[in-house]
Symmetry: D2
Subunit: 342 residues, 4 copies
């Protein structure tokens, strides 16, 4: 039986909000009925594009609207906790942008609140819904990588300064989520280095080191202060190596065949260790081009319609916040190695 | 007055030795007269290519040869100190591959030995002699970068395992030298993270964080275990940003014009900090294509002929070893921040 | 005085129509009031996205609607003439996709019809409105290129087969327009080679050679059957060379400084001609990121509001059709050189 | 039984000669004993690099030297015929650079002369000996391409002007050879367009169109007047598409899986032809890195030692000259389609 459209309201029509609104509007299973933003000029754009959507600068107009089933929160981080709590308490489902909250305590409270109100929290860790990350997850799950060695990710560009997040909370959030998802766990430790070159006290570039079980290491570099835009992850294991370049259109993922062997002729006086690489073929799988946001929106609607838990639920959001929190603590203590509890 | 050719002997005809030998041979100001390697098959190659060069497996044959003015040491790191000392004591000039020695104590001793014997030590920090690094040095010296913000370098590939150096001593040596040369000083602190995935105890990937005076930060990533080869440095300052991609042939250096300004219309409730980037033109200077090794060889000969001190002399070599040593100490203490004394 | 919004109707909601509709909708100076497509499923998408736009499968509903000021024709080529004529005769302005018509006779008739009805024909040669082509036009107009030597353009990909246009009419139309605009005239001759590999009689790859006055040569390669997507134009003159890569985001245009000089030491027995290149710096100008379609839509509205003639008017459209016609004639005669009358 | 080294003499130590000399020197199966060049300064370089090689400015010193078994001719095209004839008549084997001669009549004469003197002519169509072209030949021979559709090659850069060859004879020679080798035959027709922008009468850019049996088309673009260096060949067939980028180091060859299918739902009024592409995975085979010139030199020596005919013998050289000749004829007649006899 076809479900009637889910009624959606959007809070925040800044950078990302317009994309989420459009994505829901085009699922055919949802209807965006309201949009709230503090800036009138943003709402004028909504009126122009979607004359049938009601607009308001007062978030209470959404909260009290009994026709609204679910609310999208696409506002700065500092408002996530209060808004999400408000939405859940008004018995509506919530889609909140990443990172979920400013600290893990808040995240825990929201998980509890959602359970009490029997509503869904969806945290928009959008990369889970990309075809590239799905492909890599399946590839690793099937054992093709062999024993995992490392995860190394770079996400840099001449970036937008956030008012209430440094570059770690803004950009590294993505890489932390992808790292945990692909390696299938959370890191044991983190240490963080960062610097602020443009605005005192607001880190604009950072380097994070992680250790995992079984000798797996990870490194994430993020920056708002790079002349070039790079979004590239390297993953290596005992069987294959992978590059995942999110800016590539036709060859986003490349799988490298390679091997390390001990040279038979190795003698102690040799100028090498006797280890020798064999490079092999490169394979780039075709990926379906469906937009991640469409897939995520469809998944959220499904969860609402059929009472399912989202893949990126509150627990997942909490996990990422816990890691970000530990990274911030390390930063505060000059790069001290912080343990992350499971 | 034209000088008679400098008589050169080479120790080590492995990976880099053949390049240095060829470079000296083609200066027209030097004559390579002897070559020593422990492996007979390497010497056979020398015989085939240069029938007039004498070959030997016994290094003493070079040391005692009074016709030899200068010796090239292109052997694994662990032999640098003993061989360099031996050459200096035999009253010959020495060109030693980088890094100069296994520890800074040895480097100091060699500097002393060279002074006592009135001979030159040239440490082959080859990047100083590239047109790219020269260009950047001049660019920064002229004040075009503005206040320096950061130096970020990546040097990764599917690499050759060294028998007696980890990836930091092998690869990061280059970036450390370039960093010090371009920023004009040595870092205040270093912290290092590394991991060993192929051979226990031999680090095959590493990340180094440095701090300098005036808030300048630096980061170096090196790896022998990458599916892709990257040699790229980013440098940013208050006026310009720079990319230096050593694998590029036609656009090795790019200078990015950009700016950060405070938006006039900035209001506290805004969703950004009020900082806003302006991206500008990109300029890629034409670089002379002369080979760095040719330039270095010519400089070494000049120093011998005219009693000059090389740009990359023992002191420069010592400085790099001191930093590598501090990085190793940090590594040993789990990434502890180590001070580097000037 | 602010003008009241121009009322727009769109015919054809296939590949390009949605983009044009959206662009007009967002100008703030126009209101899209109707949309016509033969396919119901396309109209359903319109209803979903823009509930306030009326939809119809009968084009006469647009033509007879007195509230419509201007009509966008985004249908296959074979319908351009009849639809454009119908729109003009109904006293409405018209925006027609490129190429304007199937033959130059039709184009002339439409120009006449527009004059008779005192309405505007805008032909959507969209590249004129890109920042890249504007920059290049200004660069060449200012004499920076020197004497023009050649124009060489490649536009290939794994393409969409058109029902009623071969690859020349589909893709080369863009390059022909850019070529004429930048070189400031129309070619003297054309010869065309093409082949049909997938569907008999429908050329899927083609090569066009052009000659201009003053020894300028041009070449255009187009294909629907390429494994890689390329959109690159090379232009050279006596002072500079240019690459224009439309798929590049940050360095769309590069200006190459170079020179050719006669070697002083040239002797007849030399193994070269005595000509020698000097390569110089590369400069990549920052281009404003405003969307071409927005600029074009704004220009069309301006022309309507203030009675101006569009930059890409019927005459421009006619010129391109005349060249395409000559290319088709050459093709028919096995690559014969065809003259193009001014 | 190990053969004694073949004694080699080299004529021409300009651009390519040094590479060939070095390659033979390093085979271990040949000994370069003499080198001739008209320029004293070139010979000084030889003396410096290879003190044991005799140098001369008089070619007769080579010809009359009974110790010389084979001669390398690496001189400008205009001297190929006379020098090759002279060498063959002196009962020596010959390796001549491409193209073999200035016209096909000369090529035929040399084939005859070689037969009469029972000596080998090796024409240096070096690409046959590259791992990339070998791989592609095998790939196509095994039927993996399916029915061949087209061959499209670009070879452009800011080039060296040749004294006695235009850009077609200089650069297109390579692509013509690769095209014939991979497609397994010679074209039925050629038409050529070219222009001279720097030196009157010397074509510096050219476009060649070819037709083959079974509807296969080919196109070659060459230029000495391009701001960027490109060496890229596209080949498509009914099963796969190929890119071969000779400037790529790690992914020289890419094989694209794709398909064209007829849409089931195709209706005449549809806006497409009902043909629809499916793009698939990309595969880049690892290629052995052995240098082509080494392989070619080894093959030449083998042919001499064991009386074999080279893969790139006089007949192959003649075939290419015949095609170049037809292209020149077409050029002379303004792009007329010229038949090429088998």
């Amino acid at each position: 039986m076809k479900k009637s459209p889910v009624k959606i309201a959007v809070i925040g029509y800044g950078y990302w909000g317009p994309n989420v609104l459009r994505a829901f509007n085009e699922t055919g299973q949802a209807e965006v009925v309201m949009c709230c933003d503090l800036k009138e000029n943003k709402l004028q754009i909504v009126n122009q594009r979607y004359p049938s959507i009601k607009t308001t600068t007062d978030v209470n107009n959404l909260i009290t609207n009994v026709n609204v089933d679910a609310v999208i929160i696409a506002t700065p981080l500092s408002s996530h906790f209060a808004l999400t709590a408000k939405v859940l308490n008004s018995k509506k489902h919530v889609w909140v942008e990443k990172p979920m909250t400013e600290n893990s305590q808040q995240a825990k409270q929201l998980i509890k609140l959602a359970a009490q109100n029997k509503k869904i929290i969806f945290v928009d860790h959008i990369f889970l819904y990309t075809r590239a990350v799905s492909y890599l997850k399946q590839f690793i799950r099937d054992g093709n990588l062999g024993k995992a060695y490392y995860f190394d990710s770079i996400r840099i560009n001449l970036g937008i300064f956030q008012p209430d997040s440094n570059v770690i909370w803004d950009l590294a959030t993505h890489d932390i989520y992808i790292m945990c998802y692909l390696l299938g766990g959370i890191p044991k430790t983190v240490s963080a280095y960062a610097s602020s070159h443009i605005k005192a006290g607001l880190e604009d570039m950072a380097y994070l080191n992680f250790t995992f079980d079984k000798g797996i290491s990870a490194h994430i570099a993020v920056s708002w202060l790079s002349p070039v835009k790079i979004r590239r992850t390297l993953i290596a294991g005992s069987k294959k190596m992978i590059t995942y370049d999110d800016l590539e259109t036709s060859e986003k993922i490349k799988i490298y065949d390679y091997g390390v062997s001990i040279k038979k002729s190795y003698r102690p006086e040799s100028s090498t260790t006797g280890h020798q690489y064999r490079t092999g073929d490169i394979h780039s799988p075709a990926l379906e081009s469906r937009e991640a946001l469409q897939i995520a929106a469809g998944h959220f609607i499904d969860c609402i319609n059929y009472g399912k838990q989202p893949l990126t639920d509150g627990k997942e959001g909490h996990k990422v916040v816990k890691i970000l929190e530990a990274a911030s603590l390390s930063l505060k203590h000059g790069g001290r190695i912080e343990k992350i509890l499971k």
